[in-house]
């Protein structure tokens, strides 16, 4: 069934932010001021300060906008070559941890990637943003390898939701001090080691898919 046929109850609540509108208005104003300088070859004293402040303010808003917007699933999936198969696989019943969480609504369909890959708390956000910058650098320089792999997955992302859950606390393995230590030290991971893989193997190879003859 088409999503739009389900009715308004099944639509995500609207959560608009108008940062882009404010930023665009400041940017257009800045362009107008700079256009005066471009045409005349000089700027009056009254326009000097706006010519400096408006573009920098617009870029400041641009940074805030990017920080917020880059949490969206569509943003992650927009990197077609590498990320789009991972996002597409969320809708398929691949039995991976990601698609299980996605299809049960255990993660928000707005920022699911960010929820799981950002760690927990403010430092999780900082780590995720730094990782995002490195993603951009690797995309520009082409220094990424298939299959895509998270170098380190912060188990706090899982624990942020699961640690307080009754069902999670009742599992015997979760109470084992050795397993707890391994997970917290990063020696082992929830995904792959005990539970299903985080993402289907085929989606980790980008749009080209796994190499012929199977994965090495």
């Amino acid at each position: 069934m088409n999503e739009s046929d389900l009715g308004p109850l099944f639509e995500l609540p609207a959560d608009p932010h108008y940062l882009w509108l404010v930023g665009s208005a400041v940017a257009v104003l800045a362009i107008a001021v700079l256009a005066v300088g471009l045409v005349r070859g000089r700027l009056s004293r009254a326009l000097l300060l706006p010519a400096l402040l408006l573009p920098t303010a617009a870029y400041g808003i641009g940074y805030l906008f990017t920080l917020e917007e880059s949490k969206q699933v569509e943003f992650c999936g927009s990197c077609h070559t590498t990320m789009s198969p991972l996002v597409a696989a969320l809708d398929e019943d691949t039995e991976s941890l990601a698609s299980a969480h996605w299809q049960r609504g255990a993660v928000s369909h707005v920022d699911a990637c960010y929820q799981c890959h950002s760690g927990y708390g403010i430092w999780g956000d900082v780590d995720a943003k730094l990782a995002g910058v490195m993603h951009m650098v690797r995309t520009v320089t082409g220094t990424y390898e298939f299959p895509i792999a998270a170098k380190h997955f912060n188990v706090d992302s899982c624990l942020g939701c699961h640690a307080q859950a009754v069902g999670f606390r009742e599992v015997e393995e979760h109470l084992d001090p050795e397993i707890q230590q391994e997970l917290l030290s990063g020696e082992s991971s929830c995904a792959g080691d005990c539970h299903e893989v985080a993402h289907p193997e085929s989606a980790l190879w980008g749009i080209a898919g796994p190499p012929p003859g199977g994965t090495p």
């Binding site: 940017a27 257009v28 362009i31 471009l38 573009p55 870029y59 641009g62 943003f75 927009s78």
Partner: protein, 58 residues
Amino acid sequence: MLRLACLFGIAALVLLIALFLDPSGYTAIAFAFVGNPLLGVAVLLGMLWWWRNAREEP
């Protein structure tokens, strides 16, 4: 010099507006790795122009 500064500034702002209209990995890369250096050079050129003008004025 001011004309060049304004041109770079406008180019940087066009990239910013593209990001606002279509937020994606590619527009974010253009904003971060092309727009920022352009704006930085524009600000430097603009300040250099202002400094030279201020020195020449009696």
